[in-house]
């Protein structure tokens, strides 16, 4: 069975999906890109007067009054990369192996 390849997004790519002017609302979190366009709480890409879609919210979730479980119900539409073709920006690449422990 063929594996589905997720689209790669750079930060600039992601910025275009800020929910404004009819664009979908995508947000980044821990290397994945989520589509929150259908969420009542992300109308026109804005969330609780605090966040705008089109950004990586990995750090922002640390201070949020909710955890990642609320995000996981939204579809993943891509992965965040530094440059397209280079692999994910955060989190391990598929099949990556940890380097040996320096202390051992």
């Amino acid at each position: 069975m063929p594996t589905r390849t997720l689209r790669e997004f750079t930060a600039d790519d992601l910025r275009r999906y800020n929910g404004l002017d009819g664009s979908p609302s995508f947000i980044g979190f821990q290397g994945k890109v989520y589509d929150v366009s259908k969420s009542f709480l992300w109308k026109e890409g804005r969330h609780e007067a605090t966040h705008q879609a089109g950004t990586d919210l990995t750090q922002a979730l640390v201070g949020a009054p909710h955890g990642v479980e609320l995000l996981e119900k939204y579809p993943v539409v891509g992965v965040l990369v530094e440059k397209t073709g280079r692999g994910p920006i955060s989190g391990k690449r598929a099949g990556a192996v940890d380097p040996p422990d320096a202390a051992s």
Binding site: L41, E48, A49, T50, A64, P65
Partner: protein
């Protein structure tokens, strides 16, 4: 507007426009929840529904009280409610607490109720975090509302079998925490 009151909040480092927007969104969540809970409560019928009808009613009335308590603070800080009630509905900080497809499914009804309360708990926790030590009046108000929302959540959670809430349903007057803000 309370000009100096707003200045003090800004001087403490709070983005007052952002705070006002949050208060308006949460006021919308309260009033829309009051409306949607009216429908939910009307549909809590039969042997199972009757058992939670009164708790749903108390939560409904207290959420309306939360709206009443928030409204003056919004105006004190220089904000306002939207002119259009449709717009007000659509900026709610929480999704509408819609009647489930099968209103005779008590578990589904309770899930709608508990999720609405959980959204409110998150919202007021956020406002408390923003205002603690900086905007004493909004903090006092948000904390009072938060106390009641936590009780609402715990009641519905208990009925869902998630464990004891730790207390009884309200006896006597509603809004023991928010009451002091109501005229």
């Amino acid at each position: 507007m309370a000009k100096v009151a707003r200045e003090m909040v800004a001087k403490a480092g709070i983005d007052v426009d952002q705070l006002v927007e949050l208060l308006v969104k949460n006021a919308s969540a309260e009033l829309t929840t009051y409306y949607y809970y009216t429908i939910l409560r009307a549909n809590l019928i039969g042997l199972e529904g009757e058992g939670i009808k009164e708790i749903a009613e108390v939560a409904r009335v207290e959420d309306r009280n939360h709206f009443e308590a928030l409204m003056p603070r919004i105006y004190e800080l220089g904000g306002k409610l939207p002119a259009s009630m449709v717009d007000f509905h659509n900026i709610s900080a929480c999704p509408p607490a819609m009647l489930p497809k099968d209103p005779t499914d008590t578990r589904a009804m309770l899930t709608v109720l508990v999720e609405a309360e959980r959204c409110a708990v998150r919202g007021y926790t956020h406002i408390c975090n923003m205002t603690a030590g900086k905007d004493h009046r909004t903090y006092d108000l948000s904390q009072a509302i938060l106390n009641e929302e936590i009780e609402h959540e715990s009641w519905f959670s208990e009925f869902l079998g998630e464990g004891p809430s730790g207390h009884f349903m309200r006896r006597g007057d509603t809004s023991p925490f928010v009451g002091k803000f109501l005229r």
